[in-house]
């Protein structure tokens, strides 16, 4: 519990984390607003084919906040000080304060989980409010089960970012890959053109916890493939594998290496 408190204290005293909060709280609402505005006429006319995704699209594409959170939680440990100040790293202090590396890893994952859940709840509130503000009575009802799915999706995404950064020890690569993947070019969309295994990639499978619930088949990647539960399970399996690999590598690795 002490290690967990220390990790929360670390995160809240890091200025970069406030950027994560800002993006996490408002990016989904912004994306959902733009999407709602673009679709408003079709929705009012009752011809929209994407009514079930209104609002949720913001929660799917706006996960950058928790990606930054997960990456920063680890990359801040490995940020090397300038050579004039001795070239040290915070990880040295962290591991001389908490003797078990496994406890340290769990404490960090715990702190990221709590913040991700809270951040997603805030994002849901801003996104739902923005959607109602734009669509008024035409806004679809938001179901609890799908919103819980979105919270899980955010938390799992944060953990993937955290686990990958433990492996790379540097935030730039995971930040670039995960943010581009979640917003600009999704690797699962590219892979879908080659194989249906794309449906088992963590972002695509996880998104089924709250997206692609419309059963009308369009013969594209945007059809439902898994049930929300199976989709969540597939993403959780990815998180578990990444986390175990990260834990093993972290446990064996010399800090000086």
């Amino acid at each position: 519990m002490r290690a967990f408190n220390a990790e929360l204290s670390k995160l809240f005293s890091l200025p970069g984390i406030w950027l994560a909060f800002l993006i996490g709280a408002f990016a989904p609402a912004l994306i959902a607003s733009l999407d709602s505005i673009a679709q408003k006429e079709e929705i009012i006319a009752g011809v929209s084919t994407r009514l079930s995704e209104v609002g949720y699209i913001g929660l799917a594409l706006g996960v950058q906040g928790v990606i930054i959170l997960g990456v920063l939680a680890v990359s801040s440990e490995y940020l090397t000080e300038s050579s004039e100040s001795g070239g040290g790293q915070q990880i040295t202090t962290s591991l001389t304060v908490i003797s078990s590396r496994f406890h340290f890893l769990l404490a960090k994952a715990g702190a990221v989980t709590v913040i991700s859940i809270l951040l997603c709840i805030v994002a849901i509130m801003t996104t739902v409010s923005a959607t109602y503000l734009i669509l008024g009575e035409y806004a679809p009802a938001f179901e609890w089960s799908r919103l819980i799915g979105a919270v899980c999706y955010w938390t799992f995404t944060a953990h993937l970012a955290l686990g990958i950064t433990f492996l790379t020890k540097n935030g730039i690569l995971p930040l670039a890959v995960l943010i581009i993947n979640s917003s600009v070019v999704s690797f699962s969309v590219l892979l879908y053109r080659v194989t249906k295994l794309a449906f088992y990639l963590p972002d695509r499978a996880g998104a089924e916890m709250f997206m692609f619930t419309d059963n009308t088949s369009t013969g594209t990647l945007f059809d439902g493939f898994h049930t929300p539960f199976t989709g969540g399970l597939v993403m959780f399996a990815w998180v578990l594998v990444v986390f175990i690999v990260a834990a093993v590598v972290f446990h064996r690795r010399d800090v000086a290496a």
Binding site: R2, A3, N5, A6, E7, L8, S9, K10, S13, L14, P15, G16, S76, L79, E81, S82, E84, S85, G86, G87, G88, Q89, Q90, T92, T93, L95, T96, V97, I98, S99, S100, R252, D254, V255, A256, A257
Partner: protein, 237 residues
């Protein structure tokens, strides 16, 4: 008590430490001397559980670091650099460490006062001078009021006043029964602070004894050091 027993460390094909053994005893300041790259920091890192030994053991009060329940209350360490994120304030850095050890924020203010950083505690660590960063590292090491202190090059970057402060401070710690192990390459500063001296060269201990024993027939510790590290002769113990 710190006990290093037959410690071997390989990194890739290179042998960093070739079976070194020494002790740092309570009530004494032990100086761990050696040229750059001799294996001082590697030894301290293994002692603190940061790096793994290839073989041998490094024990703190008879236990490896990983088995210490609340390490901050047993051993305080300040290694290379500040060990702090540059965007955090000095006070915030000490506060998260205090949380990890279950200590209060008032203890943070106490150690800031001890190291003379109270006025700079609200500044970001990135704006600290080398001397201020070293003081912050020592403040972190002191938070849990441990019986053992391990300091890597503690006088590096300190101004003359800071050097005098740390010398007095470490002597006081040892005289009240604590164990102090410090590494350094600054002979002059060390000679006035330490009781025991361990000299390492190319991963091998070339001298281990009290200050007088290691100086032996040489006029100063510095002369003894150069004689031992350049010729690799004159093992004391």
């Amino acid at each position: 008590m710190l006990t290093i027993n037959n410690l071997v460390k390989h990194r890739g094909t290179r042998e960093i430490l070739s079976g070194i053994s020494f002790k740092a005893r309570p009530g004494r300041v032990t100086g761990f001397l050696g040229p750059n790259g001799a294996g001082k920091s590697s030894t301290l890192r293994i002692l603190l559980g940061l790096d793994r030994a290839t073989s041998g053991s490094a024990l703190i009060n008879g236990k490896p670091f990983a088995e210490l329940h609340n390490p901050l209350a047993t051993v305080g360490a300040a290694l290379d650099g500040f060990g702090a994120h540059r965007m955090r304030t000095g006070r915030a850095h000490l506060r998260w460490i205090a949380r990890a050890a279950g200590l209060s924020n008032s203890r943070v203010e106490e150690v800031l006062e001890i190291v003379g950083l109270t006025n700079a505690a609200g500044k970001r660590v990135g704006q600290y001078s080398l001397g201020m960063g070293r003081r912050l590292g020592i403040a972190a090491a002191l938070l849990g009021d441990p019986k053992i202190l391990i300091l890597d090059e503690p006088v590096n970057g300190l101004d003359p006043e800071g050097i005098r402060w740390i010398r007095t401070f470490l002597r006081e710690r040892a005289e009240s029964g604590n164990t102090v192990l410090l590494s350094s390459h600054l002979m002059g500063e060390l000679a006035e602070t330490v009781d025991d001296v361990v000299i390492i060269k190319h991963g091998t201990i070339v001298a281990d004894g009290t200050l007088d024993e290691v100086i032996g027939n040489h006029s100063t510790l510095e002369e003894a050091f150069f004689a031992l590290t350049s010729e690799n002769t004159g093992d004391v113990v």
